[in-house]
């Protein structure tokens, strides 16, 4: 009698366990499978004539709209700030995230043409808990640039929060720039600097 109960117990546990495993496997999507159509779509959009003839302002908004599907600019801003992030008020966090996103969007719009005639090859991925790295190579005839996307799983979506270009972490690079400003001019100085840089980029892009 006891043995029967025991068997049933074991079987139930096993059943739940296998279910759980399957459930776990379906719940965590494959990062490369998500990135592939996402990047393909962005490149197709960038190549389209409609996009190429659009105004810089519209181009920027379009890119951010497309990118936000798998890019998390808040996670990015948080890491750019490092330990300082916790010392900021929620309003300051929002303000910084907004400006930093804007800086990235203006800075990268100038590089759109770089991506158009290049091919992206996916070379591998690595998953560690809810983090993943998707490795790619940006290629043309003469050059191969390794680009890695560092992502965090949020719900069903892998969200990029850092890009590693030829071994250089974008977040880490911005962080060092920001640190020296924060040391000397505090948060207000940083905001002024960001606004100035964005204004410059805006002006530069409009002229071009």
């Amino acid at each position: 009698m006891h043995i029967k109960k025991y068997c049933i117990f074991i079987m139930t546990v096993l059943a739940f366990w296998t279910l759980g495993l399957q459930g776990g496997a379906t719940a965590a999507p494959d990062p490369t499978e998500q990135m592939k159509p996402f990047l393909d779509n962005i490149i197709t959009q960038l190549k389209s004539e409609e996009f190429q003839n659009d105004t810089t302002c519209n181009q920027c908004n379009r890119i951010v709209e497309l990118a936000s599907e798998h890019f998390d600019f808040r996670e990015m801003s948080k890491r750019v700030m490092g330990k300082q992030w916790k010392h900021l008020t929620p309003q300051q966090q929002d303000q910084f995230t907004e400006l930093f996103t804007k800086l990235l969007q203006y800075a990268y719009i100038g590089q759109v043409n770089e991506y158009v005639d290049k091919k992206i090859e996916f070379t591998g991925q690595r998953i560690k808990g809810n983090r993943a790295e998707v490795k790619t190579k940006l290629m043309d005839e003469n050059k191969e640039i390794p680009v890695s996307y560092i992502m965090i799983l949020k719900g069903d979506n892998w969200m990029t929060y850092d890009i590693i270009v030829e071994g250089v972490s974008l977040v880490r690079n911005y962080r060092e720039q920001i640190f020296s400003v924060l040391r000397e001019e505090q948060f207000a100085g940083l905001i002024t600097l960001l606004e100035k840089k964005i204004a410059n980029l805006e002006a530069g892009n409009d002229e071009g």
Binding site: A107, A132, G167
Partner: protein, 256 residues
């Protein structure tokens, strides 16, 4: 007597190798391996530049502006003109040629760092590219045999042997480096590369250096401008980029 000296030298080398090998392995194992998926990488207070001090920052910033100025007004226009006239195939061949000539120096450095498989790759690359690649103009070893180029410098060798970086510096017409790495580069290229020995005088050596670097620059046009556009403190962005690339390159070799 002559025979005796030979035996002496060989046994001395053997002894050095015996002591050096475990030491280098121990030192290499101490290298911190970067994991981008680890949050600790983003939380670290200590950034690359605090590991290598930058006491000359004001002077370095001045040098940086000087380099920036000469890049924008002299080097970039000349390199653009050059890249307009000379097709990319030829420029890549020139680059390959100089790269191949330094392969033996690289190989020695790899040996001194106890990276034996990399040293083997370099030796093979040198043999294949010098013959099949027509004196190093082509890169059949990389393209056909899958022997990808790996680097090893004297700066690294000194690092493996425990020599510290000293400090960060920006060298005119050369760029970001550290005291140790720049010393290493100078010895590697000036003392050990055959093309400077072929030159008749320092003017000719300088000419070769400028030609070689100009050719290289023509293959990377636009990269610097891009970087400058993306950052709001280009000096720090370049400094950080330099250290990140270096750590990554050296890490990659020890882990894979």
């Amino acid at each position: 007597m002559k025979y005796f000296i030979q035996i002496y030298i060989i046994s001395l080398l053997g002894a050095v190798c015996l002591i050096a090998f475990p030491l280098t392995v121990a030192l290499a194992a101490n290298d911190k391996v970067i994991d981008f998926l680890d949050d600790a990488f983003y939380d670290e207070e200590e950034t690359e530049h605090t590991q290598v001090p930058d006491p000359l920052e004001p002077l370095n910033r001045w040098m940086f502006s000087f380099n920036d100025y000469s890049y924008t007004w002299v080097l970039e226009p000349v390199a653009s003109g050059y890249s307009y006239v000379v097709p990319p195939d030829i420029r890549h061949s020139v680059d390959n040629f100089f790269y191949n000539l330094q392969e033996p120096v690289r190989c020695l450095n790899a040996l001194a760092q106890a990276r034996f498989s990399d040293a083997g790759t370099m030796a093979l690359r040198f043999i294949v590219n010098s013959t099949g690649g027509v004196a190093g103009l082509g890169d059949p070893a990389g393209r056909e045999l899958g022997l990808k180029a790996v680097d090893a410098t004297l700066g690294e060798t000194m690092g493996v042997w425990g020599v510290g970086d000293g400090f960060y510096m920006v060298v005119p017409l050369y760029g970001p480096t550290t005291l140790r790495d720049f010393t290493g580069t100078t010895v590697d290229s000036l003392a050990l590369s055959p093309y400077y020995m072929w030159a008749d005088g320092w003017e000719e050596s300088m000419g070769i250096y400028l030609g070689k670097e100009l050719n290289k620059l023509s293959l990377f046009l636009g990269d610097y401008e891009k970087m400058k556009q993306l950052s709001f403190d280009p000096y720090i962005a370049i400094r950080n980029g330099y250290f990140q690339t270096r750590t990554q390159m050296r890490n990659y070799k020890t882990t894979e």
